[in-house]
């Protein structure tokens, strides 16, 4: 199992995502934003960070990088794609996920250990969880407030496309406490929280984050 981790200029959590992939039992493959080469990986992770310094809009410039054209095409073909934080922002800017991530309502960057409720345990990235399971994963962002038009939010909830919601407090003012959403086919997932920071008891608040990475191995076997 080979899982690609894309490095954009300003990506920061690429080393963390690669470590999480390795701890989940897969082989991390470094992908470079400027190449048109997905290196035949079985899934792709867009890591957190500040690609292009968040200039223009968070994720906006990275979404136009050469490799993203390949990611979009492959995602339409069913390739599992996980965007974390800045990666989620890139996926929204690239049109793979609905909605947008905007400045936190309190205007501060916020890093804390965050409770999450798993609402969908059947996407490519969440089968290791039980529906309704509560987990703890760090959240850290300055522009993590998920927004969409009310009608779109109604539709997303109606279609069951909210993957995880914040519990025990909403860290950034996200609409309806939404922490992550998925594509219609459940193969592309965007998360504001950082599961790659909760993969080892030594360094994380929990090891709950590992489940996202082990899930995709199951999804690939099933596919």
């Amino acid at each position: 199992m080979r899982i690609g981790v894309i490095t954009f200029p300003g990506s920061l959590d690429d080393v963390d995502a690669a470590r999480a992939v390795r701890l989940a039992g897969a082989e991390p493959v470094a992908l470079w934003h400027g190449d048109h080469d997905l290196k035949d990986v079985d899934a792709v992770v867009l890591p957190g960070g500040f690609s292009y310094g968040d200039y223009l809009r968070a994720g906006a410039i990275a979404a136009r990088s050469p490799l993203m054209a390949d990611v979009v095409a492959a995602a339409h073909g069913g390739l599992p794609v996980l965007g974390i934080c800045n990666g989620f922002q890139v996926l929204c800017e690239a049109g793979l996920l609905p909605g947008a991530l905007t400045r936190n309502s309190h205007l501060h960057f916020r890093n804390r250990d965050q409770g999450l409720l798993v609402e969908r345990a059947d996407t490519a990235w969440t089968t290791s969880f039980q529906q309704g399971q509560q987990i703890v994963v760090p959240v850290k962002n300055g522009e993590g407030r998920y927004v969409a038009a009310d009608a779109d939010l109604d539709r997303l909830e109606g279609e069951g496309r909210v993957v995880v919601r914040y519990v025990g407090g909403n860290p950034n003012g996200s609409s309806r406490d939404i922490a992550g959403v998925t594509s219609a086919d459940g193969r592309v997932v965007g998360l504001m929280p950082h599961p790659e920071h909760a993969v080892e008891a030594l360094t994380g608040p929990s090891v709950d984050g590992l489940g996202f990475f082990t899930s995709v191995l199951t999804a690939m076997v099933a596919a």
Binding site: G10, F109, G168, H194, A201, L202
Partner: protein, 775 residues
């Protein structure tokens, strides 16, 4: 993306005609009597005279600019150098690979790894422009670490502001915190700890001290020198703009004048995205062996980098200033030389490697430009439009600046201050306890630390609010390091010699509490004006104390930073020697946290408690009192305690350990209990005020499931042990004295900073607990 040096268009005389005001070397020699604005640039009469002596003529405008910034207090350490020699006189340490004088000291931590760390001030810019001042403070210290060949792996920040409820604190603090976070977060460096303290003496003079730590393999070490005639000088990173011109001489080296003009343009503007690219490009360049020397551009910009590189090498250097990429084409040559535009580096590259060097920079979208070369002369020359505007011996700029033995005098008020003993008995222990933990100094710092990323890079083992920051260095061996920054200024005000040592002792203890072996020391010495003999005495005493303390503990000083002129008008800050201690963890999985997780564990106090209230948080918060003598220093006891803690950690005998410092036992118990919401029932022997609020040093509270083993180890180490009680329940109960439900305690502890600086929308609760394997 790249360019090479080019000659001025047309013959030289045409260039001169187009720039009739250009002050060339030739013209300076011809016009010795031209009046020069040296005083406005911060140079004194005798300093200007000595520049004329060195050059045998008057300096050109560009040369005057260079000397003025390089001879500023900030760059030249002219008032402090004679005292800092004491650190160099300490016994040699085998652990020290690179000592003072380079950009940062480098320490051997074993397994072929080395660690470089340093703390630096950005006090004055942060007062003028809080966000950018603090942000570029982080950026600057990160480049110092990078310059040594290391990958920066974490930052810390030690912050001090005026009274917490003062209107100006509300202006400065949020910007400083956002700046530290904004820059460090965007660079991908976890912030693993620091300090946040308040005192009226910092009103108008906040302290923003930033630490960076980096890791490298021994063979990856880089040095800042220009060797090899014909090697190219490459400037890379951001373009040079008009920001920060004269920052070091104007801001860092002069006292703020309440009536003075706004100094905003002298503060630099940071771009952390460019710095992140610069880090990745540099590490790739180092790995490919493409540089022979490297220097970052910080204070004094190109003046500093070129003169320091040339002065440290064996030859000279020729620079073509026209090649420097500019943001603003109207900058004069002197402004280009003085500009402190951020995110720039200067490398010495062999001609055959220039192409590969430029290719790495292009990959990371980093602008790189050859601006000159190493020459066989002994002069640093700089040309502009084909005319020579600088021709100086580089050592006279970089190394041989003025040096002062400033007059010193013991502060006239010190005897009275020391004779003014603090109160020693509490009339309401419960109220005093709550007052201390809800005071701005004692209160929960989540309002600040939640603005910092502590997780990035995935190696943060402990971070704030723990006693020290702990990082894993190697994932296979679990080698790690611990770092703490401490600077109690009240103690230093009462006795700067002992105060500096007490700060060293606290940082040492904080590192030891985590189970690490303390290895090396850095420092950031923040004081008032050196032209005030009483301040100079405080400074000299603090340096003497720190040097003596390091000798006693067997630790080398690896480098540091001096920040003087921290005063507004005649009012100097309390002397604030901030001391950083680095420790090493052979197995970082053995780290000991501060919080109590489990009930039914024994709570033990290690060390001896005395009725010591001089400079204590209790005296300050409850009585508004600062006087008497600081606690008695006992470095032998600190050392025994440190060795005991390392042993307890290695043997897995303690489940938590928390250092006792500001606020004494009351503060420590509060923090340990609230960390995971576990209370305790305890009884304290002796006088309750001394037991709860005294600040005797060399003390730590530990919890254990095996009190007999801890007691035996402590007795073997000669460390006194007091059994206090047992963890459990939802309150801190001190038998016969008071009872504090954790909910009430938490409310008091967490409310203060949000109330002062803006409320978070979600109440801070107990840390949520996810799935953690028990192994």
């Amino acid at each position: 993306m790249t360019s090479t040096p080019h000659a001025a268009d047309g013959p030289a005389d045409a260039a001169v005609r187009s720039m009739p005001d250009l002050d060339t070397v030739e013209r300076a020699a011809r016009t010795p009597d031209t009046a020069q604005p040296f005083a406005e640039l911060g140079l004194k009469d005798d300093e200007y005279a000595s520049i004329r002596d060195i050059l045998g003529r008057r300096p050109t405008t560009a040369e005057l600019a260079m000397y003025s910034v390089m001879w500023s207090e900030h760059c030249s350490y002219k008032s402090s150098k004679v005292h800092l020699r004491r650190f160099g006189d300490l016994p040699k340490s085998d652990a020290l690979l690179v000592g003072m004088g380079e950009n940062a000291g480098v320490v051997d931590v074993g397994e072929g790894y080395a660690v470089t760390f340093k703390v630096e001030s950005h006090n004055h810019p942060s007062y003028v422009e809080p966000y950018q001042g603090a942000a570029t403070g982080v950026g600057g210290i990160v480049r110092d670490i990078l310059t040594m060949g290391a990958r920066p792996i974490a930052v810390m920040d030690s912050l001090r502001f005026g009274a917490a409820d003062a209107p100006d604190t509300a202006r400065v603090l949020p910007g400083v915190v956002a700046g530290v976070g904004g820059y460090g977060n965007c660079l991908g460096l976890p912030n693993i700890g620091g300090e946040l303290l308040f005192d009226e003496t910092y009103a108008g003079n906040p302290l923003v001290n930033a630490l960076c730590v980096g890791v490298l393999r021994h063979e990856e070490l880089q040095l800042a020198k220009a060797e090899g005639v014909g090697n190219k000088v490459v400037l890379f990173g951001a373009r040079t703009g008009g920001d920060g011109i004269g920052g070091v001489s104007v801001l860092a080296s002069e006292t703020f004048d309440a009536e003075g003009p706004a100094k905003r343009p002298a503060v630099q503007v940071g771009d952390p995205f460019t710095e992140k690219l610069l880090i990745e490009a540099c590490l790739e360049i180092f790995a490919a062996g493409l540089v022979t020397g490297i220097q970052d551009l910080g204070g004094a910009g190109i003046s500093c980098a070129t003169s320091e590189l040339a002065a440290a090498g064996s030859g000279g250097m020729a620079i073509d200033l026209d090649a420097v990429p500019l943001r603003d084409s109207t900058l004069t040559p002197a402004e280009i030389l003085m500009s402190e535009s951020q995110e720039r580096m200067c490398a010495i590259v062999e001609p055959g490697k220039v192409e590969a060097f430029l290719a790495v920079c292009a990959k990371w979208d980093v602008l790189a430009t050859v601006i000159g070369e190493v020459t066989d002369g002994e002069r640093l020359t700089i040309d502009w439009h084909g005319e020579r505007i600088v021709d100086v011996p580089p050592r006279t700029v970089a190394l041989e600046g003025p040096r002062y033995e400033r007059p010193m005098a013991r502060p006239a008020d010190l005897d009275a201050l020391q004779a003014d003993a603090p109160p020693s008995s509490s009339t309401d222990l419960r109220a005093d306890w709550l007052a201390i933990v809800s005071s701005p100094d004692g209160a929960d710092k989540s309002w600040v630390t939640e603005q910092y990323d502590r997780y990035v890079r995935g190696n943060t083992v402990l971070a704030q609010p723990e006693d020290s920051g702990v990082l894993r260095i190697d994932e296979s061996s679990n080698l790690g390091i611990a770092l703490s920054l401490d600077g109690n200024a009240r103690f230093a005000r009462l006795d700067p010699y002992t105060g500096a040592q007490l700060n060293l002792a606290e940082a040492y203890r904080n590192v030891a509490v985590s189970g690490a072996k303390p290895l090396a020391v850095t420092n950031c010495l923040n004081f008032g004006s050196p032209e005030n003999p009483e301040v100079m005495w405080q400074f000299a005493e603090a340096v003497r104390g720190l040097a003596d303390g390091c000798r006693e503990l067997g630790l080398p000083v690896t480098g540091g930073n001096v920040s003087l002129y921290n005063q507004t008008g005649d009012v100097a800050i309390n002397p604030t020697p901030v001391i950083g201690v680095l420790g090493v963890h052979a197995d970082v999985t053995r780290r000991v946290p501060t919080g109590w997780r489990a009930a039914e564990e024994s709570v033990l106090l290690l060390g001896e408690s005395r009725a010591e209230f001089g400079g204590s948080a209790w005296a300050a918060v409850v009585h508004g009192h600062l006087g008497g003598l600081p606690p008695r220093l006992d470095l032998v006891a600190e050392r025994s305690l440190g060795e005991l803690l390392a042993g307890l950690s290695a043997d897995g005998l303690v489940s938590s350990a928390h250092d006792l410092a500001d606020g004494g036992l009351a503060q420590a118990l509060t923090e340990s209990a609230l960390r995971y919401g576990t209370g305790a029932r305890l009884s304290v022997p002796g006088d309750p005020t001394a037991a709860l609020f005294g600040e005797s040093v060399a003390r730590v509270v530990v919890t254990t499931t095996d009190p007999a083993a801890v007691r035996a180890a402590a007795e073997a180490a000669g460390v006194p042990v007091t059994e206090l009680g047992t963890t459990g329940g939802d309150a801190l109960v001190l038998d016969g004295l008071l009872e504090l439900p954790l909910d009430e305690l938490r409310a008091a502890w967490t409310a203060t900073l949000p109330a002062l600086f803006g409320s978070p929308e979600v109440a801070v609760g107990t840390v949520p607990v996810g799935t953690v394997p028990t192994s």
